[in-house]
């Protein structure tokens, strides 16, 4: 976790700054006609509310395992594609890059589809948590679609909060 994500590292978690060139070079190859880079950054204002900084915490070994799963899924769904996902952990300042997802495909339509699939999966499946530092305190950010892509567990969902 301490080292930067390097070129040709397809899936990577790091506390170091993410590098746009490194992740793009990882997916470029001769039969790729289109590549798409998604870049998630720390936004200062969300619906008018201010963020001071964000801290990301991960379960690293499982996060890497799921990144690889997402990559395999994409290569099956969009043949000829390559995917790299670099995710930052630790404390991030406004404007810093939290996640980079690079996808290359023979044609651009697939690149858009694959990239959108990748970011939705990253948001709903990777065991990574985001703590927001705001002027009125710190809190763990929750999203509507958390856990969505992880193995469905009806027993769990049905019992809900009441059981414990």
């Amino acid at each position: 976790m301490e080292q930067a994500c390097e070129t040709l590292e397809f899936f990577c978690l790091t506390e170091e700054e993410l590098n746009v060139e490194a992740v793009m070079k990882t997916v470029m190859h001769a039969s790729a006609g289109a590549a798409l880079l998604f870049l998630g950054t720390v936004r200062q204002f969300t619906h008018g509310r201010e963020t001071l900084q964000l801290r990301y915490e991960a379960y690293p070994s499982m996060a890497l395992r799921i990144m690889r799963e997402i990559g395999e899924e994409i290569q099956c769904k969009w043949p000829g594609s390559e995917v790299a996902i670099h995710h930052r952990t630790g404390m991030l300042k406004i404007g810093e890059i939290a996640v980079l997802i690079a996808v290359s495909c023979p044609h651009r339509r697939e690149a858009y589809e694959a990239s959108q699939y990748a970011i939705e999966q990253v948001k709903s499946r990777l065991p990574i948590w985001k703590q927001e530092y705001a002027p009125d305190g710190t809190f763990w950010v929750t999203s509507c679609c958390a856990h969505e892509g992880l193995t469905a567990r009806p027993e769990h969902t049905e019992t809900g909060e009441g059981r414990w």
């Binding site: 970011i119 065991p127 948590w129 856990h147 193995t151 414990w164």
Partner: protein
């Protein structure tokens, strides 16, 4: 011995990132129940968590035993 990993709000509220239940083996549900008895302050959060045994999400009925790592996963939020 089962090792339990705690993250995010659960780690914060318990003040721990790892915990070992007395239970040598049993179901995921039993281990989680023991965890909540030991740290009642996570009673609200636990209902929103998933559980991963050795990095794979499992049901509460799943068995865990010696050498298994059980991770308690609050709602995830990558990206």
């Amino acid at each position: 011995m089962v090792k339990v990993l705690l993250f995010a709000a659960i780690a914060e509220k318990t003040g721990r990132r790892e915990w070992c239940p007395e239970l040598g083996q049993g179901t995921v549900g039993q281990v989680v129940e023991q965890l909540v008895m030991r740290f009642p302050q996570i009673r609200d959060e636990i209902g929103t968590c998933l559980f991963a045994k050795n990095e794979r999400v499992v049901d509460q009925d799943d068995e865990v035993g010696h050498g298994d790592v059980l991770a308690i996963l609050p709602p995830v939020n990558g990206g």
